[in-house]
Structure formats: C-alpha cells, structure tokens
Amino acid sequence: MSYDSLYFAFFLVVVWLAYESLACPGWVLLTASIAFYAPAGPRDSILAAIVILANYLLQVPVQRDRRWLYLVLVLNFGCLAYFKYRVFLATTAGLNLFTGDVVIPLGISFYVFQLSAFLIDISRGRAQPFLSLPRFALFKLFFGQLVAGPIMRWRKFGPQVNRMFDSKPPRRGHRLAGLGLGLCLLGLTKKIALADSLAPFVDTIFHDGPREAIAAWLGAWLFAFQIYFDFSGYSDIALGLGLIFGIVLSPNFYTPFCATDIQQLWQRWHMTLTAFLRDYLFLPLSNIRLPARRFRVAQHFAAMVVTMALCGLWHGAGWNFIVWGTLQGLAIVFATAWARNLPSPPVALSWAATFGFFLVTLVFFRAADLGSALGYIGTLFGLGGVGSAGVPGDGAGGLLIAVGCLALLALHWLEARLISRRAVRLLLRLDGLFLRAAFAATALWLLMLPKVQGNPFIYFRF
C-alpha cells in the first residue's frame, strides 16, 4: 500500500477505529501491518516472514554467544545480496547466471538493516531480546516504518512496542494525534503537490538527455528537490502515522539543503541511515586496531570512503550508485581535511559548494547507468548536449522557471521554520476536533487527486 493513495486513507480509518475501540492496540497494529504489507505479494510476504522469524529465533543465541551474530548477518545480508544484487554481482564477476529484471522485495533494504542493527545491539548488550514473537514482529512490521524506514533502533522503538502490548493501552496518541495528522498533511503536500509535480520534468530531461547545459542544470536542480520532497514527504507521513497511534519514530530529515558542509548535509539527510552506517560500519572500520598509529588518520578517511561507497551500493545495484557514494565519502574526507588545516570559507560559499556538489553528484543517483551519468555531467559543464530535452518552453519563460527553482529553495528554508519547536507547541495548543477535522479533510482532498499513472515513492524501490 502506498501512503499517497485513497485506499490507504480508508485502511487508516479502519485501523484507527479498531485501535481506539479495542483493548489490544499492539495486536491491532500488528494485524494492520500484516494487511498493509500483504498486497506486496506472496513472495515478498513469505520472504519477510522468514527473515523476521529467523531473526526472532536467533535473538537469544546471539545474546548468549556473539558468534551467532555472524550467522544472522550472513542470513540477512545474504538475502539482501541475493534479491537485490545478484544480477549486478554476477555481471560484475563476468558471469551470466541470471536473466530478466530484478524485482526487489518491498522494503527488504530497510527491514534487513533494522533487524541487523537490533541483533548487533543485542550482541553488544545494548538491546533486550523480544521474547514474544508478536512484539518482535511489530518491532519490524509497524506499517509506519515498514517499507522505507525510518530505520528504528531498539533503544527508542523497543519500549514503545512493549507498551503497545502491555495491559494498559497507551493514551499518548490522543494528545499527539493532531500533530500526527499535521505531519501526514505536510508529507502528502510534499509528495503530491511538489515531488509528483516535478517528476514529469525530471523524467523528460533524464530520459531524453539534456540538449544544453541550462537544461542539464534544471534537471539536476529539480531532481534534487523531487527526491527530497518525495522521501522527506514519506518520512513525515511515517512520523505522523506513528504519532496518530502514540508511537514516536525518529525523524529522517532536517532541511539538508541548508547545510553548509557535506558532513552536516549527511547528518540531516536520511538521518537514520546515516546513524546506522556510522554506528555499524564506519566506527567498527575506523576502530580496527592497526599496528602503526601513524596510519590512523588514513584509516579514518578510508573507513569514511568505504562506508559511503557501501551507502551508495545500498541505494542501488549499479556502478553509478557506487560512484555516487564514493564521491560523497571523498567529499567528506576533503571537508574534514579542510576543516583541520584551512580557515573556514564564508558561509554562503560553503553552502553553495555543498549544495552544488550534492546537486551534481545526484546525477549519478538518477541516471540510468554510469555512462549516462558521465554524459549528463559533461553537459552540465558545457561539454555539449547528450539528448534532445531542452528547458520547458510552454506557458513559462526562463525567468519564471528561475523563480520557480528559487521558490523550491525558499520552501525548503520555510519548512525549517514550520517544524520548529515553537510551531509544534502552537499546534499542540490549538489541537482539537476542529483542527484534526481540517487536517484530515485537507489530506483527503489531496488524496482525491487521481494518480493512475503512478509515481510511487522513490525509496520504495530500494
């Protein structure tokens, strides 16, 4: 099910009524989450069930003996490798083992990461195993974060799941439901009004190839905002859904395009993934004991590049994604080295360099393959067009397009003000039947816009 559909709204109403009227909120949410995932099909459902069950059974062994963790990780990442990377890995190795398109099981990248993080935490003594299978299942299956995160840690999410199954149902949802609806509305606005509106322009420019540098810059700029509004919209809805049911999920975005250096950008972009990579990949790699201390800095930097290259690979099975991730890693290394050895440049310059770098490298993320990405980037820097797509001419002139592009940035800046503590406090003070009805009705009107051609959330494909 997709959050930006009318049928999901109907589903949500039914779940909410059951949640409010039945005395077993944990079971209601678990049943709803299974129903939410079921339309993905029997293959995806059975795979998710097997992975969850295997992880559930191995919790206690992992707690007792750390060596079991390796089995869990091999199982989890083996599944991920087989279902997501088999064609890429085989092709890279020069083997023609698999044919046809790879259809990635829905949400596999997210549930594998969340479960792996949980079991690593158990092995480190930072999490407690769930003895009850339903609680464990809800920990991963909760429909507010099942398909595309946020990747939740036990420390924050585990106790909330336990409360759902405790005898007294949580009543926090009543206080936070208005805020939750507000976040859902914000997320739907980002997705339906902004991301989906930018998609046709981006698709045309990347599909046909830019004819000139200006079209290439326009495509890159619009794609940066499309993917931001798409994924942060999804994350806002996820957060809002959690709050409606009294669950506080972790935020995933905090105005990343306002960042003035690349590290800061990554601390504000897909924050739960960044935290996962930091804690379970970068820090272990960075802390491997080397015989010579003089290599420590090089090790730190190498760990960063490897982490970000794998971050790229996580996003997609292709060299363009690996290059994208590696470039992010190299940029972080460069920024760190600069900060250690050189004076800080003016803020405006830092911001422009950071945003410009992210914009250009996103081309690797969006392009069909490495060759197309390089061709596109060549066009960006005036090396000639690679296709027929120009700047859209009908209805709007160049000035209007420029104003529109700047307006996207302004909206992004405005968003930071909209979700400030003050705004949240004000919303909580105004919360009531009127506000909730207004939010719910506005969201419904947005969902009424037919989207039969389909623009699924971009991160659903990861």
Partner: protein
C-alpha cells in the same frame, strides 16, 4: 448528551468546511497563476449531453487539460474545440474538419491544434477563410455522420473533411447506442443512425435541472471538478496503476494482420456486419453531400504506411477504399501517406506523445503542425477548385 454530540459534529463539519474552502482557494490561485503548469489541479471537464451524438463539448468552458500533456483549453461559444466564431460567415469559404481526439487535440493549446494551423496557413492565401474544428474524442463513424448532419451543416460549410480511422468499422460494440449515437440494423435490414442513449438514465439526468446544476458546479467549483475526476478514475484507482510504458520511439509494427483485416472488409466484403456498417456510413455521407452540394473528403488513418514490404497489399487496400468512396461521390485522401511524405518513416513517431512518452499517444505540437499543413493542402486544393 445529544447536545454535546451535535456540538462536536458541528465543530468537525466546520473543520471540513474550512479545509474545503482552503483547498478551493489553493486550486484557484494555482489556476490563475503560472503555477498551473506545474502543480496539481483538477482536470477541466468539457463534455456535456447532446441529443444528436450523445455527447459534445459544452460552450465556453475553460480549464487545464492534464492527460498526456498540460494545456489550458477553452471551448468556443458554439460548443466546439475551436475559437469563438459566428454561425454566419458570409461569402468567405468555411471548411469543417470532423474527427476524433487527434483532431480535437486537447493536449495542446487552441492555436496549436492541427485545424487552427491549417486555418492560419490557408488564411495567408484566402483572407477570411475559416477552418472549424469539429473534432470530438471517441468520435466513431456514426458520431462523425451525426455530427456532420447536426452541427456541421449548421455552419454552412464550403467543404467538409472527415478524418476516419478505418479500423473503427471492425471494432467491437459499434452497434451499441446506449451511450452514443451508433449504427443499428432497422426493421428493413438496413443500418441507420440510432439514438438509444436518449432513453438512458444518465442522459436524462444530464439534461435535467439536476444535470444543469451538476454542470454549473463542474464549471465553477474546483473541488467539485476534483470529485468528478475521482469519480471517473475510480475511488481505488491507485490500487492498479497503469504499468509504465516503454516507448520505443521510431519503432512500428509491420505485421500484415491489420492490413489483412482491412482488406477482408474493403476488398472481400466481410465480416457482414462491419461491411453493412461501412455501407451505411458511405451511403449517409453521400446523401448529405448530394443534398447539400457539399464536397466531402474522407481522410483515412490507421493504414500503416511505413512498411515497404507491405506496400503491394497496402496499395490494393487503398485502391479499394478509394474506389468505394469515389463511386459514392466522396473524395478520398490517404492521410497516413501524406504525413509519411512530409516527415519520413522515422519522423512519424516523433509527432506523437510528450516528454518521456514521446512516440506514443496523441499528437504533440509538432504533430499538430504537420497535420495542419496536410489539412491545409487538402482543404486548399478543394477550395481552389471551387
């Protein structure tokens, strides 16, 4: 207790009302500004009931067309996909072009439609000449005849062009008149225009006072348009989204199946129902042309012209079509061939579709321009002879 419940209901309804007004205001702002080229909006609904054809454009309706490509469109004062004009046109020649959605061209702005392009080209040579667009989405042969009879002749045309998709005669359900005008077999065994839709509940509603209110709301309230859009798309439309289309611009089908089926109709005379329908279509057009001394040109489409291997078969089919039409006093134009001559085999696909779907779908601006040039040649030739 009741009082509390009522109070709560009133508060909730007030919230819904405020949300609805906010959304309406938002849509109006979007529609009135350049934001309309980007942000989501309800689509304009241009069709209304018509006693002769089942449906037609309503007069003076404006809004944004969203399917395939965004275009701000406005129907004319005469209820056509056309510019405003008077019914009378004095001594200046007037051509009418009847066709389906390709002629209607809702995907492009009014001046970019093929018919408008043809008018502007001809106007350089014949000042004041008019070319009126009577294109209507889904217009099958029976609707084209009914449209010529009712709305076309009222415009007192000098020449009529009917753009005909030849495969329409073989499509299933051509005799179904429950929604639109269709050819049905009468008591005498002959096919004639039939208007069964006039008895349907939907048509009665649309022509009633309630229907009037419905269309008023559709024309003036954006959220009502949105409700109508959703009703048309289906409440659970997103459950089964359209699969992504993989367009191979420049590729076309050179199997002989389409030509074979057409040959069986035009040359071999089968299947009998389609043949009878075709005869009725030609008979009625010939009668209209004869009674009104109106030159009628049938411009056929749907006969693939880009396959050299099929050329002998195609030539035989086109010869048969030409013979059938000219024997009845109608003129024939092989529109596919004329387009091919203008843009070449590789250029035809680029006349269709927009953006990432280039190569598939309705005519884009370039496609309409080429069609306009060909229409101008066809109409201009006949007008010069007059």
């Amino acid at each position: 207790m009741w009082r509390v419940a009522l109070q709560k209901t009133a508060i909730m309804l007030a919230g819904v009302a405020v949300a609805t007004l906010t959304v309406e205001l938002g849509f109006r702002i979007i529609l009135a500004t350049p934001l309309r080229w980007v942000l989501p909006l309800p689509a304009v609904a241009v069709y209304g009931p018509d006693a002769d054809t089942g449906f037609r454009h309503r007069a003076n309706v404006s809004g944004l067309w969203l399917t395939e490509h965004r275009a701000f469109i406005r129907t004319s004062n005469l209820g056509l996909r056309d510019r405003d004009r008077d019914m009378a046109h004095g001594d200046t020649p007037r051509a009418i072009v009847i066709g389906d959605s390709f002629i209607e061209a809702l995907q492009v702005e009014g001046p970019d439609t093929g018919v408008a392009v043809a008018e502007s080209i001809l106007a350089r040579e014949i000042p004041g000449v008019e070319v009126v667009n009577l294109g209507l989405s889904g217009a099958r042969p029976a609707i084209e005849v009914a449209r010529l009879q009712s709305q076309g002749l009222a415009l007192t045309p000098t020449v009529a062009v009917i753009v005909l998709r030849v495969d329409e005669f073989l499509a299933p359900g051509r005799s179904d008149d429950s929604e639109y005008t269709a050819y049905r077999r009468g008591d005498n065994g002959q096919f004639h225009l039939s208007y069964g839709f006039r008895e349907s509940g939907g048509y009665r509603f649309r022509t009633s006072l309630w229907g009037g209110i419905f269309y008023w709301l559709l024309d003036h309230v954006q959220v009502f348009r949105l409700l109508n859009d959703r009703k048309n798309a289906g409440l659970l439309a997103e459950w089964s989204p359209e699969p992504p289309v993989r367009v191979q611009a420049g590729a076309w089908d050179c199997s002989s199946a389409v030509l074979d089926s057409q040959a069986s109709l035009w040359i071999d005379g089968g299947p009998s129902e389609a043949r009878a329908l075709l005869r009725a279509f030609i008979r009625d057009l010939a009668a209209i042309g004869h009674a009104n001394r109106l030159p009628i040109i049938i411009a056929t489409t749907g006969i693939e012209a880009r396959c050299p291997a099929l050329e002998p078969k195609r030539a035989a089919l086109v010869g048969a079509i030409r013979g059938s039409l000219e024997d009845a006093g109608l003129q024939f134009v092989d529109l596919d061939k004329r387009i091919l001559t203008k843009v070449g085999a590789d250029g035809v696909a680029r006349l269709h579709g927009f953006g990432a779907r280039l190569g598939l779908g309705h005519l884009n601006v370039e496609g309409n321009r080429i069609y306009g040039e060909v229409l101008a040649e066809i109409i201009g030739g006949t007008l010069r002879r007059h």
